[in-house]
Symmetry: C2
C-alpha cells in the first residue's frame, strides 16, 4: 500500500519519523499515523480516496493543526491528509468573491482582498496559521462573528471529493450538501475548494475597554447593551484570572483583579460608529465599570493585544489546559459565568474564562499540571461546565467543533433518535466509514 | 384509513369536495388529494406520520399555497398536510429571536416585532399570506435578501418530525440537519417549529427610481454600482413589458418603453443612507438613466407599489404564465437579460423580466394563452432560459425552489454522481419515501 501511495505522490508521502508531528492539534495528541500525505490537486485527492477505499484505510484531513477539539488528531493506523500544499487563491473583486483551496490560510484572504477595499470576516484567533479547510471542517468563528457570522455564512460554493472518489462542486440549492459538509469535521467528504463571499471594508472603527469589579456584572452589562440595540463588531471579555495572566506576561498596566470587556464598533459613518460605542460605554458605566476609550488606532491596537495574548499567557500558569467552548443565551450569561467560577473553586482547579461574550460564546479554560492535578478530575470538571451550558439552554460548541474532545458530551446533549438520524446521514455519504472515523458522532 | 384519520383529527380531515382547493399552488395544478388534514400540534403531526407510514400514504406538506414551483401540489392519492392552523408565535425581544410554528404568516413576525424595534428580514412577494413553513421548505427570499440574506440565514433552531414520527429539535451544530431540511421542500421531514433571528429596524430609508432606455444598460449599471461598494437594501427591476403592464393596470405615470430600476438604501445614519443612494444615482445616470428620488415615505411607497403590482398586472396580458427564477453572477447580467429578450422574440412569446437584480436573481415570466399558444413551446422556451442561466455560471432557482416545475432542469444542472449523493441523503432520512414524493429530485 505504501508503495502504491509513493508511486502516486512520491516524496509527498511522509512515512519516516517526521510523521510524528502530525499526531497533534492544538489541544490533543493521538497515536502516530501510518503515513502523512500532502496532495497538491483535487485529482490527487481523488486518487487517494480510491486507494484508501481499496485498502480500507481511514483518512484524517488536516489543515494547520491549530484546532481545539481534536478533529485532526489521527487514530491508530490512519492516513493523515495534510492540505497545506493546496494553496491556490483567486480573487474576483467585481463579484466580491474568492475561490480558495483548503490549504489557504484564513488571514491571507483578507490580506489579498484589502487592496480592493474588501475583507473576509471570519477571524479565528489562529487566523494567521489556520487554513480555510480546517475552518470549514469546524465551522470556525472568531471575534468578528458577533456582527458578521461564522465561516459557513460566507460559503457560496463548495467542491469536495466523496467516498467513491468523485468530485462535486455545488452551490447551496436543493439539498444543501455544502452546508452539511461545513462543520462535519471531515467525516462526510474531503473539501478541495470553496467560493467565499467578501465584504466591503468598513471605513471607521472605535474601541473601548471597560473594567468591572465582578465578572457577573460584566456579563449583565453585555446582555443589556445588546438588548438595547448595540451591534458591536467585536465584544470580548477576560475574567480576572486572564487579566492577571496577561499582565504578568506583557506588563501593560491592566487593572489586576478586574474583569475586562473590550468592545469595537465599525461602519462607514464615524458618528454612528461612535454613537454605538457610547451605548456600550454608558451601559458598562451603569454596572459600575471604569471605561477607557482608545483615542486612535494605536491605542486600540494595544487594547486588542491584551485579548490576543490570553492563550500564551495562560500557558505560563500551568503546562496543560482543557479549552471549553460553550455558547449560552445572552440573558443567561451572568449566571453561567458565576456558576462556572464557583465550579472551579469547588474542584480546586484554576478556571480562566474569556471569549466572544457578545455571542454568549465562552471559553472556560481549565489550567492544570498533570504531575500535580489528576487529569480525570479535570475532565470531570469540563463535563460539569458543559452541563451548565446545557442546563441554561446553551450548546456544547460555539466554534471549535466536537472532534474527539466533546463526543461524550454530545451523547448527553442529543436524544438517541436524533443521533440515529445523524448516523444515517453519515452512512449515506460515507458507507465505508473512510472519512475521519471516531470523530464527532458518539 | 380515513376512519382512523377522522378518529385522530375529527372535523379537521377534509375528504369532501372542499379538498379540491388543495390541488393548487400559485403556479401549477395537480390531481385531487385523497384527503386534506389540518393538524394543530406537533403531537398530531407525529400521529399523522405514523399512520401514513403504516398505510404507505404520501404526505404533502402545505402552507398558504403561494409557492411558485409546485412544491405543495399533491400527487395522485396523497394526503395534504396543511399547516395553517399551527400559528403559535412567541417573541423573545431581549434575545432578539422568535419561536414560530409553521403556519405563522411571514409578515406577522415583523408586525409583532415592530413595537420592540425589531424585524424579520426575509420578505417574499407573498409575505402577507405565505407561511413560515412554506418559506423554510423553499428557502424563500425577497427584495430585502440582497442586503439581508434568505430564510435559512435567520434560522437558529428547527423542530421537525422525521419519517418514524419522532420529533427532533436541533440547533445548527454538528451535522447541520436544520440546514439540510431548509430548502428540501418537505421531502426529508415535516417542520413543526422554528426559532428565527430578528434584527433591529434601521432608522432611515431612501428610495429612487431610474428609467433606462434599454434593459442591458440597466443591468450593467447595477453590476457596476455594486462593484463600487453600494449595498442597497433593495434593488429591483422591471423591463419595458412589465412597466407597460403596470402602467395599464395602475396608470401612475410610469415611462412606457423604459426599463425601471428601483433602489432603496437603509441604515441608522441619514447621511450614509443618502450617500449610498447617490452612488446608485450617479452610476445609473452615467449609463443614460433619468433618475427620480422619492422626497418622502409616501413617494417611496408609491414607487414600490409599481414593483408589487407586477404579478397581477402581467396576469391581465395573458391568462397563464410560467415564472422562471434564475440567478446569475452580476457581471453576466447585461448579457443574460439581452439573451432572454432575444429568445422570447425568437419563440414569438411574450417574456416579461423583473426581479431582485442586485442578487442576479431574475424572474423571466413567459405569458401565454393555452388556447392560442401551444404549452409545449412555452416549456421549451422555459428550458432554454434555464440553459442561459447555466451557461453563464448561474443556478436554476434563486428563491422559488425546484418543486415539480424544475425537476427536469435539475437533472441537467447536476452530474449523476451528485444526484446520487442527494438520493442517498433522501434514502437515509426518509427510507419509506413518505415525504412529498416526486418533488425536487429528478
Amino acid at each position: 500500500m505504501l508503495g502504491e501511495l509513493k508511486a502516486l505522490l512520491g516524496p509527498r508521502v511522509l512515512s519516516g519519523p517526521e510523521k510524528r508531528v502530525y499526531r497533534y492539534d492544538a489541544i490533543l495528541v493521538g497515536p502516530e499515523p501510518l503515513a502523512v500525505v500532502l496532495p497538491e490537486s483535487r485529482e490527487e485527492v481523488q486518487a487517494l480516496v480510491r486507494l484508501a477505499r481499496r485498502f480500507g484505510l481511514p483518512l484524517v484531513p488536516r489543515g494547520a493543526g491549530s484546532g481545539l477539539s481534536g478533529g485532526a488528531v489521527p487514530e491508530e493506523g490512519a492516513l493523515v491528509v495534510a492540505f497545506t500544499r493546496m494553496t491556490r487563491l483567486e480573487l474576483d473583486p467585481q463579484g466580491r468573491t474568492a475561490w480558495a483551496e483548503p490549504g489557504v490560510t484564513t488571514a491571507r484572504i483578507s490580506e489579498e482582498a484589502r487592496p480592493f477595499g474588501l475583507f473576509y470576516p471570519p477571524d479565528p484567533a489562529s487566523w494567521r496559521t489556520s487554513t480555510l479547510g480546517g475552518n470549514l471542517g469546524e465551522n470556525a468563528g472568531g471575534p468578528l462573528c458577533f456582527k458578521y457570522g461564522v465561516t459557513g455564512d460566507y460559503v457560496l460554493e463548495l467542491e469536495f471529493v466523496d467516498a467513491f472518489g468523485e468530485v462535486h462542486r455545488l452551490g447551496r440549492q436543493a439539498y444543501d450538501l455544502p452546508g452539511l459538509l461545513i462543520g462535519s469535521e471531515g467525516t462526510l467528504g474531503l473539501i478541495t475548494g470553496v467560493r467565499v463571499r467578501l465584504l466591503p471594508l468598513p471605513r471607521y472603527r472605535a474601541t473601548l475597554m471597560a473594567a468591572f469589579p465582578e465578572v457577573g456584572a460584566l456579563a449583565a452589562a453585555v446582555s443589556q447593551a445588546i438588548a438595547e440595540g448595540a451591534v458591536p463588531a467585536r465584544l470580548e471579555f477576560l475574567d480576572p484570572t486572564c487579566v492577571g495572566a496577561v499582565e504578568d506576561y506583557l506588563g501593560m498596566g491592566l487593572p489586576r483583579g478586574d474583569a475586562l470587556l473590550l468592545a469595537e464598533t465599525d461602519g462607514d459613518d464615524l458618528e454612528v460608529v461612535q454613537e454605538e460605542l457610547s451605548l456600550v460605554e454608558e451601559t458598562a458605566a451603569s454596572f459600575g465599570a471604569r471605561v477607557q476609550k482608545a483615542r486612535d488606532e494605536k491605542e486600540a491596537e494595544a487594547l486588542w493585544r491584551a485579548r490576543r495574548a490570553v492563550s500564551p499567557a495562560l500557558g505560563r500558569i500551568r503546562p496543560k489546559r482543557v479549552n471549553e467552548d460553550i455558547a449560552v443565551p445572552r440573558s443567561a450569561l451572568p449566571q453561567v459565568v458565576r456558576e462556572i467560577q464557583a465550579l472551579g473553586k469547588a474542584y480546586g482547579l484554576i478556571v480562566a474564562q474569556f471569549g466572544h461574550i457578545g455571542d454568549g460564546n465562552l471559553h472556560p479554560n481549565i489550567l492544570f499540571d498533570p504531575g500535580r492535578e489528576p487529569e480525570e478530575k479535570v475532565w470531570e470538571l469540563a463535563h460539569e461546565i458543559a452541563r451548565v451550558a446545557l442546563r441554561h439552554g446553551g450548546v456544547l460548541s460555539g466554534e471549535h467543533g466536537i472532534g474527539l474532545m466533546k463526543k461524550a458530551f454530545l451523547a448527553e446533549a442529543m436524544d438517541p433518535d436524533t443521533l440515529e438520524a445523524l448516523w444515517a446521514v453519515k452512512g449515506a455519504l460515507d458507507p465505508g466509514g473512510v472519512f475521519n472515523p471516531g470523530k464527532l458522532l458518539p
